[in-house]
Symmetry: D2
Subunit: 168 residues, 4 copies
């Protein structure tokens, strides 16, 4: 069996904590531009990657129209291995929209509990983990956080612990 | 098909650039203790993990006896998903020793081109990527670097580029 | 003339952006504990220092009573070289309260535009700069930011630029 | 007495640990370019500064000719407040060359025990401390490390502790 990596992968950016930056004038965390190119350079990635910067919003502000846009982006992707960078608060809802569409692709949702721009961020680890899962897992929609991967219909965010858990 | 993650994974530490630290008195990069617990805490990992700190050496100093020790550690691991943190210079040789043994386990070798303790390190991304591959790939020995995964018998380090490449 | 350093210095902590940390559960920057010991260890400081952790609040929440408390802390300090870590928004007001008291001490207010826990923070530089000024300047109250030092009665924060400037 | 800051300052770069970077291909710390502009941007400096990148070498490789070059750079500086970034191993020798020249300027030598590019560097703190001393102290040559400042003729590096100390 050949390793299915050579076809490359796609990363769809929607924002979330992963990409928040500190605005020194406003004194708060906001969105300005994605950190993704910096993380990929730091990771010395040679896997062919397409980057689709679709949104840069807090996932609490994500509407049904936004979620359909993410689904369309997955459906239209020429690559069959897809990572979606997403805020953790409504990541499961968007994964459900993509999961129900039963695309012939592997779509892995990930994000971060601590922004890439803050010391001690989980963003680079999570991106590496999700990208490997997007390449290696069978078709379907998944959530990858905390070094674990869950099917879209068997995952919830425990907001007290700040961790993702299986439903059953 | 159930996702095979719940059994947990094992990380075997051997040293390499991944774990080098700056010694302010000597003015050079040396080994003191592994950064692995810090990286796993930062990544907010909830996957059950066993850590086996076997060696903390430069992979150029790795002998045949050391490599057999790594093989023994893989063979003795109760977990079937294994990541070996290894220096990049002789990672392929040790992967070959493990690969030829044809264990009924998935062993993924990874490391870093820049130490975790240095700005712009690829260590957290690589660890996330390798851990996902250890969980998701069929049994065998692999090298995972540059967001790519290679079978042990189809990989080489391009020392000029500082990248891992397939042989064919 | 002997260098007046050997008597040591005092650092009074009141909070401000300098000391904000990211709370991964709440998803926002809050106060938990001061970063000061970490910064001083990182800076390899051997100057005798007393640390007075008085407040950990946003300077927009600072009341007249809080400011009198800072003045009392300066007045009671056995060390004559004092740095006050303070939020930038009302730093000038508190410096005025201390300045009008005309203590026989050198009190230098500083803070940060980016928290120590965020990439690209100005906190370590500012602390080093302020500490040197506290040791070297004549008695009085000063604000030290942007690698510049201002008397308490000749400084304002330009909120658009996020910089401190002389009034005249 | 006016605060003597408005005339600006000069920073002369000679290299040293302060400016070492990790070379991922060679696997060692080398010189490539100075981190000084990055540190100054991070520190949000508005003080007018001239940067003179004279050398980028390990101070163990500094010759008498190099030291005379540093002295010439100080002598030729239009600014009277000067910081010299220097390796710690022979910082005291170069400070002596400048000190004996009795320039009508304040020249403060500083450096770092941990490179700026390595986690936990003392470089930003030391630069802030030295710059303030260059602005505030009377004419003369000084060494500023460990949040302390020493006259050029009363300082030594304790190589076991990695700290600078007064001779008497």
């Amino acid at each position: 069996m050949p390793l299915p990596l050579e076809a490359g992968a796609r990363i769809i950016v929607t924002g979330g904590t992963f990409d928040k930056r500190y605005d020194a004038i406003k004194g708060e965390l906001t969105f300005k531009e994605t950190h993704l190119p910096a993380i990929l350079e730091q990771a010395r990635v040679t896997l062919p990657l397409s980057i689709d910067i679709r949104l840069l919003i807090d996932s609490l502000h994500m509407t049904d129209a936004h979620r359909r846009g993410v689904l369309d982006a997955c459906r239209g992707s020429p690559e069959h291995a897809i990572v979606v960078i997403h805020g953790t608060d409504t990541m499961v809802q968007t994964a459900e929209v993509v999961g129900r569409a039963e695309l012939a692709k592997t779509v892995v949702f990930t994000g971060a509990m601590v922004p890439y721009s803050v010391q001690g961020s989980d963003a680079p680890f999570n991106l590496g983990f999700a990208l490997a899962m997007a390449v290696a897992l069978p078709h379907g929609a998944y959530v990858a956080m905390n070094a674990r991967v869950f099917r879209w219909d068997n995952v919830t965010k425990d907001r007290v612990e700040g961790q993702f858990k299986a439903l059953r």
